[in-house]
Point group: C2
Chain length 360, copies 2
């Protein structure tokens, strides 16, 4: 056996050099005489690691100095609830833009906590487009506007940051963070589960503008209060130390690739190659409006569902893993995050072309 | 450099054989052609891993069939809040037994959510004993009674399960789970952060009696609702897969040691050796009442604080790591969890004896 091209939607492929380094220092990290998993998060060694990971992430995203960077837990899903708990009063409205399964889930988790308004939705279009900004019914008094920057299941992505005026824009970037440069200053808060472009599942990165932290109510448990986490350097309780360490290695790797500009250029090429082939194939089909197509998750269907199982079996045998689409949309899905190289997409396209020629 | 005896209070030492296995399969796990970190939690390979880890934990703890075993996130601290949110109505009382820093923290996190009653506390005794059961002022209508089975900072442990009648007993077992056999049927719920006897930080094991899940309110976000987690096999959202995997390896290791009876016997010997030496030394001192002394965390002081830094420097040079006590109590602390072998305690005692002879 050997490592294959891994198109998993998440937990997703990690850079091989990162895994090799983690492997080499699994039993002894630095001068610790122990694994990085076995040392206190309050010791100077781990504190240095944590600070360096934060600095590298700030460098990569060019995070303004009036933003806090937090390393938390619970997956993006916990933060669907937690952000509503922190930034909206129960009697206040919060505006949600619904562009797929994850923004629907964000709505569901926030509903017990605030007055959710659906300011725009592409549900009627089966989540194949971003509703045009001009159509959004925003409340100027809303606590915030929430978007999911990239929908992993439907393969729909915001390619520009919408202007929502003075209301803070909050975005789940789980599946697109670090894939290309982004202007953090346009957001009140961004957050991302780690398991696509950052590291192992179980870690969530939150980047929040300091003035928003003043809204965090003192009446909620500290462990759910972002201001408390910020005041305690993400160490209000024991953080997921191994995940934080591995995220730090991924940030170093991303810097070594040339940062987000360089990664963004590779990602642009990857998606162009794949969508370009799909559109011209006359065999495969992606339903998403071209302007809203995700650079990270490419769902596609075959001419007949009866071919799905054959495609999956043969692609796996060809060293192309985890191409099964989500049950909500069916067909296939290629997730092509940062750690999946251009050669991986080329290998997929070559396979798809061959498969089409044999089954067309 | 080489691995040393690691007395860290948490994240704590892991069995070396577990780290070696994780190292060997870091890039390719089983037949996955990817790291276990890189595969979907919803694929059959990870589902099998997850089921096996649960089965092994059930075997080790002899968990009755009417209990659910959940693998969650957030540290015990999130569950301080979450259990109050799930099992007590805001207008209901909940009884807390306060035996140290962690039970104090459990109180603080629950206070915004329910009517916390301190049914017993050893605060006046500076947390050196378990308040006698007969002195507890329990409310027979309380939602639950909460204890922290072992206090890592003060080194105080419950060595019997208190009888609290028909009210469900809920216990934080973070620092004592798997250290000896326990009768799970005596509890409504037990929960434990992984980073002492289970695995890496970021994972929390929750074992909860099914009838309690009927209390979980539908009015809270799903991600904070134990019944939802139970109904979804702990996969309501992406779980911390690598931590779950590593916990599974630790469970296999614990079984190979002979299970909790055998581990309990080793742990009994370890603490007897250390407390026995301390008490007879005429140099070191542990303030905890003998019946309440922790088997896992042994705080001790030297005759003069001025010796602390010398002790720490010399012990580290002797290959005995992380002996600094918590700032709340000062002095030293030896955490002697499952993965710290009897030889480690013997090496510590040998060092302590030598240090005392040179500084007495």
């Amino acid at each position: 056996m050997s490592r294959a091209f891994n198109f998993s939607a998440g937990p997703a492929a990690l850079p091989e050099s990162v895994l090799l380094q983690a492997q080499s220092e699994m039993l002894e990290w630095g001068k610790a005489r122990a694994s990085v998993m076995e040392i206190s998060h309050r010791g100077k060694d781990f504190e240095a690691l944590a600070a360096e990971a934060e600095k590298d992430l700030r460098d990569l995203l060019d995070v303004p100095s009036n933003y806090k960077v937090l390393f938390l837990q619970g997956g993006a899903t916990l933060h669907f609830a937690q952000l509503a708990m922190n930034f909206a009063r129960p009697d206040q409205t919060a505006d949600y833009i619904v562009t797929g399964a994850w923004s629907e889930k964000a709505v569901k988790e926030a509903k017990p906590l605030t007055q959710v308004r659906i300011a725009a939705s592409d549900e009627a279009g089966k989540f194949t487009a971003i509703p045009p900004r001009a159509s959004w019914d925003l409340d100027p008094n809303a606590a915030y506007v929430h978007i999911v920057a990239n929908e992993t299941i439907h393969g729909v992505e915001f390619h520009t940051v919408p202007d929502v005026g003075a209301v803070p824009l909050i975005s789940d970037l789980s599946s697109t963070i670090l894939s290309q440069p982004i202007d953090v200053s346009r957001f009140g808060m961004i957050y991302a589960g780690a398991q696509k472009n950052i590291g192992p599942s179980g870690l969530v990165v939150v980047i929040v503008r300091e003035d928003l932290l003043e809204r965090c109510p003192k009446s909620i448990p500290k462990i759910l209060n972002y201001a408390e986490h910020a005041a305690n350097g993400s160490m209000l309780n024991t953080p997921p130390t191994f995940s934080w360490y591995l995220a730090g290695l991924v940030f170093k790797w991303a810097k070594a690739q040339g940062g987000l500009k360089a990664l963004g250029e590779i990602n642009r090429q990857k998606q162009e190659l794949l969508y370009g082939y799909i559109d011209g194939s006359g065999f495969y089909r992606n339903p998403v409006e071209i302007s809203a197509r995700s650079w990270m998750n490419v769902p596609f269907t075959l001419p007949s569902e009866s071919l799905d199982s054959v495609f999956l079996k043969e692609s796996e045998a060809a060293g192309l893993l985890a191409l099964k689409g989500h049950r909500a949309v069916g067909g296939m899905r290629a997730s092509i995050y940062n750690a999946l190289p251009l050669q991986g997409v080329q290998a997929l396209v070559d396979f798809m072309r061959d498969f089409a020629s044999r089954n067309g």
